[in-house]
């Protein structure tokens, strides 16, 4: 059974101005048990809206959501025990301490005090905030707040964890700590839905991915399945420099050359030709090797190919 099953979900926001916003347009997704599922899309794509529908905060206009086979549209608060939601905002009481936040939010799950205290300790351990637990949240760094934001969401030991852009505005260390944490939780068997607009994050963390744009899922699969959508897996780039500009005519004989601001990109004439052959040709031209760059295809390229835009726009 899939952990989350979304079928033909549509959410339209009625705005004061005449045109309504279709934030989700007939979205279908299946998130299998025990995987880390990445939902990648630019800002405004509809990622948070999808999360809000799954957690039951928003009512979709159309479609169905099943959590572990349970229909969430029924007025059933029980299914919320299965999900741990990490909001995009830092949803904490800033004027209280970390431990007070954990206690307050933990109190809504009807756990025996002893169990709750154990959960709080292990959550604090997981997010590495044990020695700061009695500090006020408002004095925390962005990364610490993000980590606590996650800790608060997992106290009830949920089977499905929904993380909405949990690394926005954090330093690399905290990002790594958050990734380690999520991997650890995944190892414990939890299913994770992770939204982001950083393709590097999606590539690094997720077993399975969907790309969302303008409320529509435009591609879905594993990383290699998505990359396979691309015609070329690798691009060979030569940085522009006096040395390389001199040999532009010779380069054109090896393959097709396109120019960007600071690079030439070469696509070998024979698409089957191996990179090593291309390198040999370049060596013969005595191209300084420090001007040579090999970049493999990324989700960014997939997105670019599917939408004609880059992710960061």
């Amino acid at each position: 059974m899939n952990s989350v099953e979304v079928t033909n979900l549509t959410k339209i926001f009625k705005t004061q101005v005449s045109n309504n916003i279709t934030a989700l347009d007939n979205v279908s997704l299946s998130i299998g048990e025990g995987i880390i599922f990445g939902l990648l899309g630019p800002n405004g794509a509809g990622k948070s809206t999808l999360m809000n529908c799954i957690i039951g905060y928003l009512n979709p206009d159309k479609g169905k959501i099943l959590l572990k086979g349970d229909d969430t549209s029924e007025l059933n608060l029980k299914y919320r025990l299965h999900i741990g939601y990490v909001p995009q905002e830092i949803a904490l009481y800033q004027e209280l301490t970390a431990i007070q936040n954990l206690k307050i939010f933990g109190s809504f799950y009807d756990l025996p005090a002893k169990v709750l205290n154990e959960r709080i300790s292990s959550a604090l351990h997981l997010v590495k905030l044990e020695d700061r637990k009695s500090d006020l949240v408002k004095n925390f760094s962005g990364g610490m707040k993000r980590r606590l934001n996650i800790a608060v969401s997992i106290l009830h030991n949920p089977e499905i964890i929904l993380c909405d852009e949990p690394t926005v505005g954090v330093d690399p260390q905290s990002r790594n700590a958050i990734f380690d944490m999520l991997k650890e939780l995944n190892k414990q068997g939890k299913t994770i839905l992770y939204t982001t607009h950083y393709m590097e994050e999606a590539e690094r963390l997720c077993n399975k991915l969907a790309i969302i744009d303008n409320g529509k899922i435009i591609a879905e699969g594993t990383l290699s399945e998505l990359i396979a959508l691309l015609e070329k897996r690798e691009t060979i780039k030569i940085r522009k420099a006096p040395a390389s500009e001199k040999m532009i005519e010779s380069l054109k004989k090896i393959g097709e050359v396109t120019e960007t601001d600071f690079h030439y990109e070469i696509i070998p004439n024979n698409s089957n030709s191996k990179n090593s052959e291309l390198f040999n040709e370049l060596e013969k031209l005595q191209l300084p090797s420090h001007l040579l760059e090999l970049s493999s295809a990324s989700l960014e390229d997939v997105f670019l190919m599917l939408t004609g835009r880059s992710l960061r726009d």
Binding site: N52, I55, G56, Y57, L77, K78, R80, L81, I83, Y85, P87, Q88, E89, I90, A91, L92, Y93, Q94, E95, L96, Q100, I104, F105, S107, F108, Y109, D110, V152, S153
Partner: protein, 443 residues
């Protein structure tokens, strides 16, 4: 139920952490009650006294007696000395008194002149200088002086009458006039003839100043005449209450701050929405109605605590009697808190943002407080305003407080119209709030 309790606990912890909120709830209204209570309330010696120069040029006992009466007045402070350029304390004389009033140093001066009450005169004479720069002040002074002196006139009356009789009738005739009176009184009232004569001829200033003795059996006959004229003023309402002005002030300010506190509690829903904690709560096994219930319960309990604290405060500071009608006071507090929460909720449900909600509620609260009698008694208003006042929540709350604190109203006295209107307001606007909450998907 457990969820509601946990949500309530959350609001309580957050409230207690918020020093500004706690201060605005308890301290600021308390300070305002002290300020306005001291201005309007009086009593307990905390009220400022108006200074008045008192110059006594007369050597008569009666003058000395009236002087001490004014000295011990609750609302006047008698000034008798001034400090000259060299720092010496100098007794104010008649001329100096005039000068000080003209120069605006003091609002008024009361002089007992040399001929205040000469041995043979049948009238007493004062000189009163005043500067009517402040109408309320000079009326207050004159009123107090008149009251002090008037209350002694019944006792003075026989003496003045005796002197007037002597002037008109001459010594011999006036003696027979006195014995006629004494005869008549012993015939009709069974009084001892000699003591009547004694009482009307031997005017005794000591007796005058010891009126409390007049109740004892021995003196009853002797004081017969002085009892002929008596000012019996009787306060009909709130006779045992010590502090009329403050009662209104406390009720008025308390309601105003109740409205501020409770609409703040309601609009805090916006903050929770903004910082995402509301969404976090709603992805837990908590229903929206549980959330709203917790808000209501928290707000109403906070309102009850706030009002109780403010009334307790008034009790300690101004002797406002809150305990003799305690249960009914609690009923009015509960009804007022209920109506105030509903008011906050409907604004929260109607507004689109925290800023808008705060703006609207502040405006409406200030208007309702001014119009509804939080600051001034509604009876001072022009008629159309008195009519408009009846459409404010504040009016019915303040009036209900006055009913229970001042008139000692029983429960059946306040049910209609006060409780019916307050609870009616609460229920009606609550329905409106819930309707709007649902329609606009606020929570």
């Amino acid at each position: 139920m457990k969820n509601i309790f946990q949500l309530f606990k959350k609001d309580l912890i957050r409230f207690l952490k918020d020093k500004t909120a706690v201060m605005l709830t308890f301290l600021v209204p308390a300070v305002l009650i002290v300020i306005f209570g001291s201005i309007f309330g009086g009593g307990s010696g905390s009220r400022g006294k108006i200074p008045i120069i008192v110059v006594n040029e007369s050597g008569v006992d009666l003058a000395a007696f009236l002087e001490t009466e004014i000295d011990s007045s609750n609302s006047l402070r008698s000034v008798k000395n001034y400090t000259d350029e060299n720092g010496n304390e100098i007794k104010i004389d008649h001329e100096k008194a005039k000068e000080l009033v003209i120069n605006g140093n003091y609002p008024a001066a009361l002089v007992f002149p040399f001929d205040f009450f000469a041995d043979t005169s049948s009238a007493i004479k004062f000189v009163y200088y005043y500067d009517p720069r402040n109408e309320i002040e000079s009326q207050l002074i004159q009123g107090t002086i008149q009251k002090t002196i008037f209350s002694k006139i019944p006792s003075l009356f026989p003496l003045l009458m005796q002197r007037e009789a002597k002037n008109f009738l001459g010594e011999a005739l006036s003696d027979s006039f006195n014995s006629d009176i004494a005869n008549m009184m012993s015939n009709y009232f069974g009084a001892n003839k000699d003591s009547v004569i004694e009482s009307i001829t031997n005017f005794d200033i000591v007796k005058l100043t010891q009126q409390s003795d007049s109740n004892s059996v021995n003196n009853r006959q002797a004081d017969f005449i002085s009892n002929l004229i008596k000012f019996d003023s009787e306060q009909l309402v709130g006779a045992e209450k010590k502090n009329p002005g403050v009662t209104r002030i406390v009720g008025g300010w308390a309601i105003m701050f109740l409205l501020f506190t409770l609409s703040g509690t309601a609009t805090s829903i916006f903050e929770e929405k903004q910082d995402g904690t509301l969404k976090r709560i709603f992805c837990m096994p908590i229903s929206r109605s549980q959330f709203l219930w917790s808000k209501y319960i928290f707000a109403i309990l906070l309102g009850i605590v706030q009002l109780s604290v403010l009334f307790l405060f008034a009790y300690y500071l101004y002797d406002v009697d809150i305990f003799s009608n305690f249960l009914n006071l609690m009923v009015v507090i509960l009804a007022s808190a209920g109506a105030a929460v509903a008011f906050g909720m409907v604004i929260t449900a109607y507004a689109k943002s925290l800023a808008q909600a705060s703006g609207i509620s502040t405006l409406i609260i200030l208007i309702m407080s001014a119009l509804g009698g939080s600051w001034f008694p509604v009876t001072l208003f022009p008629e159309w305003m008195q009519f408009a006042a009846k459409f404010t929540l504040t009016y019915w709350s303040v009036e209900a407080f006055l009913q229970v604190l001042w008139r000692d109203a029983s429960f059946t006295d306040i049910v209609f119209p006060y409780l019916v209107i307050l609870i009616g307001i609460a229920i009606l606007i609550n329905y409106l709030a819930l309707y709007l909450f649902k329609k606009r998907q606020v929570v």
